[in-house]
């Protein structure tokens, strides 16, 4: 079973996303901050990461940079809200593989994960 890590400080978003993923047969690792994501990534070696952009302390861009330092092949999809196009482009330049726009629908999240994991 492929493992997906969901990184979001917003609890409801994270839970809902995790729920959708596990209903679709993925193992889910949750992280509520960039720092947690880094630790968890190294422990759990998830197959891909859904990474929220707006987070306290370490935002999605910073977290992405750090994740890629840890694993240059990390498959990261950015979760972004409307109005964050610029940041998403920056993330893609940095090496994010994909992005999902909130509010997500189930198909889109699963679609992105499938694309990442292949």
């Amino acid at each position: 079973m492929a493992t997906v890590m969901v990184v979001d400080d917003a609890m409801f978003m994270r839970k809902k996303c995790a729920q959708v993923l596990s209903q679709n047969g993925y193992a889910v690792v949750e992280a509520a901050s960039g720092a947690e994501a880094l630790t968890a990534y190294q422990q759990e070696k998830p197959d891909c990461v859904l990474l929220d952009i707006t987070m306290p302390d370490m935002d999605g861009i910073e977290a992405l940079k750090e994740l890629l330092k840890v694993d240059p092949n990390a498959k990261v999809s950015m979760c972004s809200a409307m109005g964050q196009q610029g940041i998403v482009i920056e993330a893609l330049k940095l090496g994010a593989k994909d992005f999902v726009v909130k509010p997500f629908d189930v198909a889109r999240v699963i679609g992105s994960v499938k694309k990442l994991i292949g």
């Binding site: 409801f12 978003m13 193992a27 889910v28 998403v88 994909d98």
Partner: protein, 686 residues
């Protein structure tokens, strides 16, 4: 209100929980922002809260909440970027938006409620945004066909000389794809990794400007095969169709290598990353009750164990039984303590709601108030937390309304224009002590005395005898207001008496100290928990009652001969004062006075709200910690009993409501006030 598909009641609960947290956070932070407009962390926190609300409410399908959060976020974004300066009108608009958000949030509780209108709040917020957000430009479809210009041709030829193959690629995106511009950027990004982009329609520049719709054409030179490219592009979301044509000469379509095998996770379980768990409070209450039952049962079993030990002495099994019993007893005690500590919550939960209120009142009263909170991490049982809010609100209102002077008055008194109100909490033994301290004009004992005499609170001679401290504490008396004019927040003479009554009925106390011209301090003391209380067990005509220790002054023997009758009411002399007596058996109708046996009685002197009454009982039993069980379902309104508890031997005891007993006694006494006074003199002569 219709929720989005796939949102279960559990999802909604989770959403509501988080939304409430975010709303509360906004409430606190927006008020703080007014004073700390230069604090970037605070600004980020507010922005994130609005952002989170926007996202999650859209997810549950609460579109209006999401839209309002979006409007708020836009303002916050500009403030964050320094394009807007924090001003009272911005704070007002944000707070107004927040109020509407709360209404929207409430709609989730009562689905039949009238949907709140967000138009005004959104308009108020949008008016603040200097330049409206530019919606992503969706230009007309580039219907043209990509034709390489001369410059592109040169680059193409050069690439081919390097052994690269030119491909003409057409990518069309899903109609519902959100940001085709960013998707196109993804395409460019991916292709750049394996080759050279010769030219694209629209161009990279145009894409960054958002000038793209759903079709994207690229001419790329690469050493990879068409299949490789297809595979690469398949990895991008929201692409509907990919068309790849070799631009000049054919190359053999090599089968793409199999995708790298799934990096298998080595049988690891989901490690818990979060160290906290959210639990519904009702579950905690149930747990608490069950532990209470367990404690009672433990006491019963311990008692049985002692009885068995007495009967069989050294019997091996009984000894072993006793050992494991004491083990269980120990575990149960620890369990009880642990459960108690789980129920502890920081007073912050209540305190954090207050700055907003203080700001609103101060603004309405045209006063300037610096509100400082200390010790918000102090923990108390949640049963107490719930009881704190109203008294605190009353005391703060009182401080702003009656304590803090208007700015000009403060200036002429040589004080800073802004008054300071300091709210602090701390532990003191088994109590939590909360103080509300202001640097306002203070309470003048002379005015209080005068007002108390005018309003016939007590006999003038009694009032003039009071010390300044006692006189000031008369402000807790109902019907006494010192505000020269009535305002809509306080000044109707109700409020502080309610505070006193509520706090005392919880087994706490409240007092006030004041230095005229310098300020007033309210001190509120409450037990840490209301779920377990220490009490004195007494018995009368075979019924056991418990009297909370917090209300007991003292207890001792009472000889029948010491009982005097004044106007048919029994009284006794207690430390030189006349003390009304209440016979418990009579109060509850357990026996009538003509049928009374025994000369030796006991009296428990109890106090409430400055009044004392002697409760007459037959026997004093023992002091014990009791797990309070509510009787609400059985007896409804309190009539001298607040609850019940079960003793180790299974007997039920009634816990007396001292407040209502004394209130009952006082009403009777007041009717006979003059008579009692005359009898006082007679008694003292005797």
């Amino acid at each position: 209100m219709d929720l989005a598909a796939g949102i279960t009641p559990e999802d909604l609960d989770l959403f509501i929980q988080e939304a409430d947290e975010q709303l509360q956070l906004l409430d606190e932070d927006i008020v703080r922002l007014e004073k700390e407009s230069g604090n970037p962390d605070l600004m980020q926190e507010i922005f994130r809260a609005a952002h989170t609300l926007k996202g999650s409410s859209a997810m549950v399908g609460h579109q209006r909440l999401s839209d309002l959060a979006h409007a708020m976020e836009s303002v916050l974004d500009q403030v964050r970027k320094g394009m807007l300066a924090v001003s009272p009108s911005i704070i007002d608009a944000l707070l107004h938006g927040l109020d509407v958000m709360r209404l929207l949030r409430k709609e989730l509780d009562s689905p039949d409620s009238k949907p709140a209108d967000i138009t005004n709040a959104v308009a108020e917020l949008s008016a603040l945004v200097t330049t409206n957000e530019q919606p992503v430009k969706q230009v007309a479809e580039h219907s043209g066909v990509l034709v390489p210009d001369a410059e592109a041709q040169t680059r193409l030829e050069k690439a081919c000389q390097e052994g690269k193959q030119a491909y003409f690629i057409k990518v069309s995106f899903n109609k519902e794809s959100h940001w085709t511009a960013v998707r196109s950027f993804q395409v460019i990004n991916s292709l750049s990794a394996i080759g050279e982009i010769i030219v694209s329609l629209p161009t990279a520049q145009e894409i960054e400007e958002g000038k793209i719709n759903h079709l994207f054409q690229i001419l790329v030179a690469s050493k990879n095969s068409a299949e490789d490219i297809r595979e690469l592009l398949t990895g991008i979301s929201e692409i509907e169709n990919i068309e790849i044509n070799v631009h000049e000469k054919e190359i053999s379509g090599e089968a793409a290598k199999a995708t790298g095998s799934d990096s298998t996770v080595t049988g690891k379980e989901d490690t818990k990353l979060s160290h906290t768990v959210r639990v519904d409070v009702s579950r905690l209450d149930t747990l608490m009750e069950q532990v209470g039952e367990l404690v009672i049962n433990r006491n019963q079993i311990s008692q049985l164990g002692r009885m068995l030990a007495e009967k069989y002495h050294e019997d091996e099994i009984i000894v072993a039984f006793g050992d494991s019993l004491s083990q269980i007893a120990k575990i149960v005690s620890t369990l009880q303590q642990d459960v108690m500590s789980i129920r502890l919550l920081p007073v912050e939960i209540v305190f954090s709601t207050l700055p907003r209120m203080v700001r609103d009142i101060a603004r309405k009263e045209n006063k300037k108030v610096e509100f400082i909170i200390e010790g918000q991490e102090t923990e108390v049982d949640r049963s107490v937390i719930e009881q704190l809010r109203d008294p605190l609100i009353h005391m703060l209102r009182n401080s702003i309304d009656h304590g803090i002077e208007a700015p000009d008055k403060r200036r002429s008194a040589g004080k800073p224009e802004a008054g300071t109100i300091r709210l602090s909490a701390m532990h003191e033994q088994d109590n939590i002590v909360i103080t509300v301290k202001d640097d306002g004009k203070g309470v003048d004992p002379k005015l209080i005395r005068k007002s108390a005499i005018d309003k016939k609170i007590d006999m003038p001679e009694n009032i003039s005898k009071l010390t300044d401290h006692e006189a000031v504490n008369l402000i807790f008396n109902s019907g006494l207001s010192t505000a020269s004019e009535v305002t809509d927040v306080s000044g109707r003479g109700v409020g502080l008496d309610v505070v006193k009554t509520n706090i005392e009925s919880l087994g706490g106390s409240v007092s006030v100290e004041s230095v005229p011209g310098q300020g007033t301090t309210f001190t509120l003391t409450l037990p840490l928990t209301l779920a377990i209380i220490p009490a004195l067990l007494v018995s009368t005509v075979g019924t056991i009652c418990a009297i909370p220790l917090s209300s007991i002054v003292e207890a001792g023997k009472l000889d029948v001969k010491e009982i005097q009758t004044v106007r048919g009411k029994e009284v006794t002399l207690f430390r030189g004062d006349v003390l009304p007596l209440l016979r418990l058996d009579e109060v509850f109708g357990w026996s009538d006075k003509n049928n009374r046996s025994g000369e030796a009685l006991h009296m428990v002197v109890v106090k409430f709200s400055g009044s004392r009454v002697g409760l007459v009982v037959e026997e004093l039993l023992e002091q014990q910690e009791l797990v309070v069980k509510s009787l609400d379902h059985f007896i409804g309104e309190s009539n001298g009993i607040t609850g019940a508890s079960i003793l180790g031997d299974g007997r039920v005891v009634l816990i007396l409501d001292v407040a209502s007993l004394i209130r009952g006694a006082i009403t009777e006494r007041n009717n006979n006030k003059i008579k009692i006074k005359s009898s006082v003199s007679r008694l003292s002569i005797k």
